[in-house]
Each structure stands twice: as C-alpha cells, then as structure tokens.
C-alpha cells in the first residue's frame, strides 16, 4: 500500500528566476496489486512525485508511506519495499551483462546473487532475455535495455515498483511487450506498479486507474472506464448523400446543437447530440419531408485522449 499525503514541492528559483511550484498538495493511495498511471503533460510534476516517493527529492511538506514506512523520515527502511526505473535504459550498467546487472542490483538491495540464481533465470525468461543473458547491456536494443532495467527493478523483490516513462522512445512492438509484461507482473506477483507517462495509449492499455496531474495538482483520479463514461459525448453523425433544399437547411440550422458540415466528397454531415430525443425526431422529420437519402448513421466515440485534454482544459479554466 502506498499512501501520499498533501505532498508539496517548490523548486527554488535560480539565477533570478521565480520559484517553480512543481507539486501542490498531492494526495492519493494505491492499494497492493494495483497498476496506476500518473498521467500529465511535460512538466506537470509526475517525475518529481515519483522521485519523492523514492526518497531522491526532499518534499517541502507532506508525507509518503510505503507499506506503512515513512519515506521522508525513515528512508532506508522504506526503500526495502520500493524499486524504480527512473532514467529508462540509463539505469543499468551498459558494460555489465544482463546477468551481471541483475546480480549487482540484487546485492544493492541486500540479496545474495548466489541465492537468487533461479529468480534471475525466471526474469530472464519472462523478459525474453535468455539468449542475451551474457551479453553486455550496451549491445542490446533500446527495447531490450528497457526490459532489463525493468527486470533489475523487479529482482529486488520490493512490493512497490515505480516506473518513470517506461516506454519512452521505444518502437511500437517494444512498447507493447513492456506493457504486457507490466500487466503480467501485477497479475502474477501482486505487486503495486505506479508508472508515469504522457502517452495516453500506454496508460489506457496498461492501467486500471489513472491519476491525471496538471501544474503539480491532481485534476482527476479515477478508473479509465469511468473517466471515459464521464466524458462520453453522446453524439450521432448522419451522412446525407444529396444536397439539402434551402428550406431544409434553414430548418436544420434552427435546431439547437445540430452541426451541419459539407464534406469534401460533396456529402453533408449532420452532428446531433443524442441526449435530446426531441431534436433528433425533428431532424428526421425535416429529412423525411423531402425523402432525403441517408447514407450512414454512426455514433461518435470519445477517445481517452479527448477526455484527457478535456480534463486538462477544465483544470486550467478552473485555475
């Protein structure tokens, strides 16, 4: 269980620059075995929050508890339950092999490399690095290096794993592989994984819950499903294959919230909100009156990207 309470951080302004409020009264809890995404635009404060959770940045105020251990006051004790990948593939030693990296980082967490050989073999297998076990990390692809960095974080057997932008700079396939592995780790090992990303697809695909951060503040904390429901704009798009009469056009434009657009292929698209059935009935009445041919009726889906932008927009207006 991770508990973050009223966390605040302001970076002092340097060389005459004003101070920067990076994290502003951030509070959240993550139960054991949950995969949570911290999502936000660049500079939102995600990395600062994660680094404070690792005890690498000192908060100005607030508390962080990792399985009940205070990360601010009893850092070394709390670190037993946390491991992290903060700089992606830079978090490993490029001149050491995959196996040597796993052994070295296990020793840093107090685990004897000799005793954890079966675990090393298991992670090499899980991350499909078996045939690269004795290859220097510098000779691996970026995706493989990222997988190794994640395996290194897992070998510590800490119950909380923090990943800062785990798929940044990876190609589509490598990104997908990492996402699948993360889901598997949470499912099979019951670990708590908190990842930061500014990539909506990564969070949507991987996390059951998302905490959206903007300008250092939490602006949404919910399941992705619920956020999508919340922001779902129920809209219907009707495509007409012939031109409308002036009287029809006038009548349609008089209807509230109906958007009339002429498409490049000569067809006309009408966007109608589904919430008000009366408007829809009236629209169909106008079209039926002239026996207008309808080519297609489709319901528009709201993407998570749009939900995210909507939340950010609202938070900025609110501020």
């Amino acid at each position: 269980m991770v508990r973050v309470e009223s966390l605040e951080k302001t970076y002092p302004g340097r060389r005459g620059a004003p101070p920067v409020k990076a994290v502003d009264r951030v509070s959240f809890q993550v139960p054991q075995g949950q995969l949570v995404g911290l999502l936000g635009p660049n500079g939102a404060g995600k990395t600062t929050i994660v680094k404070m959770m690792c005890g690498l940045i000192r908060p100005d105020a607030g508390q962080i508890f990792i399985n009940g251990k205070d990360m601010v006051c009893r850092r070394t004790e709390a670190l037993v339950d946390v491991s992290a990948v903060l700089e992606g593939n830079r978090n490993i030693y490029w001149r050491l092999t995959c196996r040597e990296n796993l052994e070295f980082f296990a020793a840093l967490k107090g685990r004897s490399p000799r005793e954890i050989q079966p675990e090393i073999a298991r992670y090499l297998d899980l991350f499909k690095l078996n045939d690269k076990a004795d290859t220097e990390a510098r000779k691996l692809s970026r995706g493989m290096q990222q997988k190794l960095a994640t395996a290194v974080a897992l070998i510590a057997q800490s119950r909380v794993v923090l990943l800062d932008e785990p798929t940044l700079g990876l190609d589509v396939q490598a990104s997908l592989e990492i996402r699948e592995l993360l889901k598997r780790i949470v499912q099979d090992e019951g670990r708590t994984v908190i990842l930061t990303s500014h990539d909506m697809n990564v969070v949507q695909d991987t996390c059951e819950r998302v905490i959206i951060i903007n300008e250092g503040r939490i602006v949404a904390d919910d399941s992705i499903e619920h956020l999508l429901d919340l922001f779902q704009v129920k809209v219907c798009r009707i495509v007409i294959g012939e031109s409308l009469t002036p009287a029809q056009q006038q009548a349609i434009q008089a209807l509230p919230q109906v958007l009339l657009e002429e498409e490049n292929n000569g067809k006309i698209a009408l966007t109608v909100p589904l919430e008000d059935a009366q408007v829809l009935h009236e629209l169909f009445g106008i079209l039926a009156a002239n026996s207008t041919v309808i080519c297609a009726i489709e319901q528009k889906q709201t993407s998570f990207e749009r939900v995210f932008l909507e939340i950010l927009g609202r938070s900025e207006h609110g501020a």
Binding site: L56, A84, N91, I92, L108, K109, P113, E136
Partner: protein, 259 residues
Amino acid sequence: MRKKLILFWAFLKRQYVYFRRYLFNSLGGMLTLYVVFLLILGGYKGLVAPAGTEGDTLEALVVGYVLWFFLMTSYQDVYNTVRNESLTGTLEQLYMSTHGFGWVMGANVAAAFLANLVMVALLLTAALWTSGAVVNIDVGGLLPVLVGTLFGPVAIGFAAAGLALVFKRIDSYTQMVQFVLIALVAVPAEKAFWLRLLPGSFGASLVRDIMIRGQSLLEIGLAKLVLLFLIGIGHLALGYGVYKVCEKRAMVWGMLGHY
C-alpha cells in the same frame, strides 16, 4: 554483517568485470605501474612525486610512491564514482540501495583498495623479479599505517563529490587536489601537533618513521596508531558531513542524479 559482505563482494566483482571489459586500458595502467616500479628500482628518483620525504633508500622510494598511489586512487575512487555514476544515470539507483549510500560508497572504496593492493603487490613482485633488486619492507607495519592514512583522501573525495552534486562541473578545481595531496604528504607533521591534523600528513610522518628511522609498529606504539585512526575518522566524518550537506541541497533542488 552478511548483507554488507554481499555488497562488498558485488563491488569487488564489478571491479574484476570492469578490469576484464576494459582490458586494453587495464593492461596499459598495469604496464605503466610496472615501468614506474622498474625505474624506481633502477634508481630513478624523478617519478617519486611526494617521496624523498620518506628518505632516499630504495625501500623508501618504493614506499613513497605506493603511498602516493594509494592516496590518489582512494580520493579518485570516491569522487570519480559519484561523478561517473551521476553522468551515466546510475547514481540514483545506488541511492535506492537498502544499505544506505554511505555503506555503498564504503564497500566501493574497500573493494577498490583491495583490488589496487593486489595489483600493486603483484606488479612490485614482478618488477623486483625482473630487475633483480631486493627490498626489505616491513609490510606488516606499513599496512595499518597505510589504511589509517587513506581516511584523509577518502574524506577529501567525499567533500569534492558533494560539491560535484551541487555544482556539477568542478573538474578544473578537483584537478588541483593531487597537488594538495602532495603538499599534505610532505608536511613535517612531527614538528607540530596541529600539522598532524591535516589529512594524510600524520600517516606520511609515521611511514617516514618506519622507512627512514627503521622503527617497527611496536616502536611507533599503539597510542600513535590510535591517534592516526582517530584523526582519520575525524577527517572522514568531516568530509562525509560536507557530502551530506551538499546531498541535502541537491535533494532540495531535485538535481541529485543530474549532471
């Protein structure tokens, strides 16, 4: 204790792996050291930087150089580790060790010292065998003094590493440290008590007692040895204290792992 040994062993193994991976460079370093020993054993005194202060017998020249070598490498093992790990992006991972960063660096320095000690012993033996020279060095007496003397440069290494955490690029200043170390080793610590408090100077003075005056560890006495270690621990506390102050500053500014 077992966990600390695991940590020490991990760093020692990493030393060995790096030695193998950078084999060309490692062999170059070994060759240089071997040639230096040969030159010293051949009577060439120009290479023995801070020595001369240890006397000008063959043994004194060798010991003077070895002392200088360990002072420099001990300082560099601390400063360069922090600087390089920060540069490569792994410093924050060392900070996330459950041992605490102080122990991590301690294990790193101890492993590097042991590796250097083995290398110096092997190369000196090889140089002696090649040159046919014979030296009579009281290794048993010198080793504890050497260890006690190294706390000073380790402390300077911590202080410099701390400044590097805050100011990042300070290499132009840290290059001066080797000249400072030369001066400190040459300080006549036996002339005034306060001079003994300078890093490395009391240890160098005890080495002179052993090498020039032919004193054994017993003749030097336990009191002086304890004083050497107390001064060393004091230096270490001071240097580590400077490091912790700088580390706190870097953590407040959020730039611990930046370079």
